[in-house]
Symmetry: C2
Subunit: 165 residues, 2 copies
């Protein structure tokens, strides 16, 4: 409502249902979050630096949406009752996984990431550890879980790096 300047009734008139409005709100929040996270790492030189930058960005900078990660919230909230919303959350998650797999493969091709790693498993591990620690940090109102998660993920990234010696 803030963004559009419309009254509540005015917003509803643009959508056929509350479900459709929830989908549009998720798509908007996800796109804003994604762009903000991309901007934080786009200038980093290499695929591995971008992956490391993403982890550090999560530890350093909270979500730009006030309610926390829109993907996590929507995945849980849409568990029953709004299949269209759930489909959008699933597409968002698949897109994130695909982008991380792509960065991992680029790093493998560039010789900075080991060729014996499993990109889908690492991509999934990065996301699940970040998302779970966001849930914990928010519930406890304490930054430590997110910091522990990020330290561990930096170790994982160290381990998949081609060692320089």
């Amino acid at each position: 409502m803030e963004k559009t300047g419309l009254e509540k009734g005015g917003i509803y008139r643009h959508f056929a249902s509350k479900e459709e409005l929830a989908v549009a709100a998720f798509d908007y929040a996800w796109e804003a979050t994604k762009q903000s996270r991309i901007r934080a790492i786009e200038k980093l030189a290499s695929p591995l630096a971008k992956l490391r930058g993403m982890v550090i960005d999560f530890a350093d900078r909270p979500s730009i949406t006030p309610g926390g990660c829109p993907l996590l919230n929507t995945a849980i909230d849409s568990d029953d009752g709004n299949p269209a919303l759930r489909a959008h959350a699933r597409t968002a998650l698949r897109g994130w996984i695909a982008r991380l797999e792509e960065l991992l493969r680029e790093g493998m091709d560039a010789g900075e990431i080991r060729k014996d790693i499993d990109p889908p498993a690492i991509a999934s591990l990065l996301i699940s550890t970040l998302e779970g620690s966001i849930m914990m940090s928010r519930l406890l109102a304490n930054h430590s879980p997110l910091q522990s998660a990020c330290q561990q993920l930096e170790k994982v990234l160290d381990e998949i790096a081609v060692s320089s010696h």
Copy 2:
């Protein structure tokens, strides 16, 4: 309603509000989940074996509550609007963290876990990785994220073990 044999109106008559009913439902689901997870590992001999057993149990056996992990769901759902419910979820999470820290310290005292580890960080990492991967596996209807998470956590437990050679 199934458990009590009461009609819907009958259930509401026992609680002062919908919020209070939600708290009672969470406490019931959390206690049942906890007991089920404890039973899965109680016969394991050592603290480290119990921690490993917990991780394997999450990978092998889905939540006994149909909606998935009650803690994860309640942490997200109570983010606005039900502070009493949120307080119960927070207490549940703190209890889980405390139990894992206790197992880690018992393992340190017994000489099977390295004395230079940080129990709160490891406890937090175990929970956040499990919870985040449950969210992913449920949203994608695919077991892989949970399996990747558990493989990684088994590696973490290998690393904190006092090496036998």
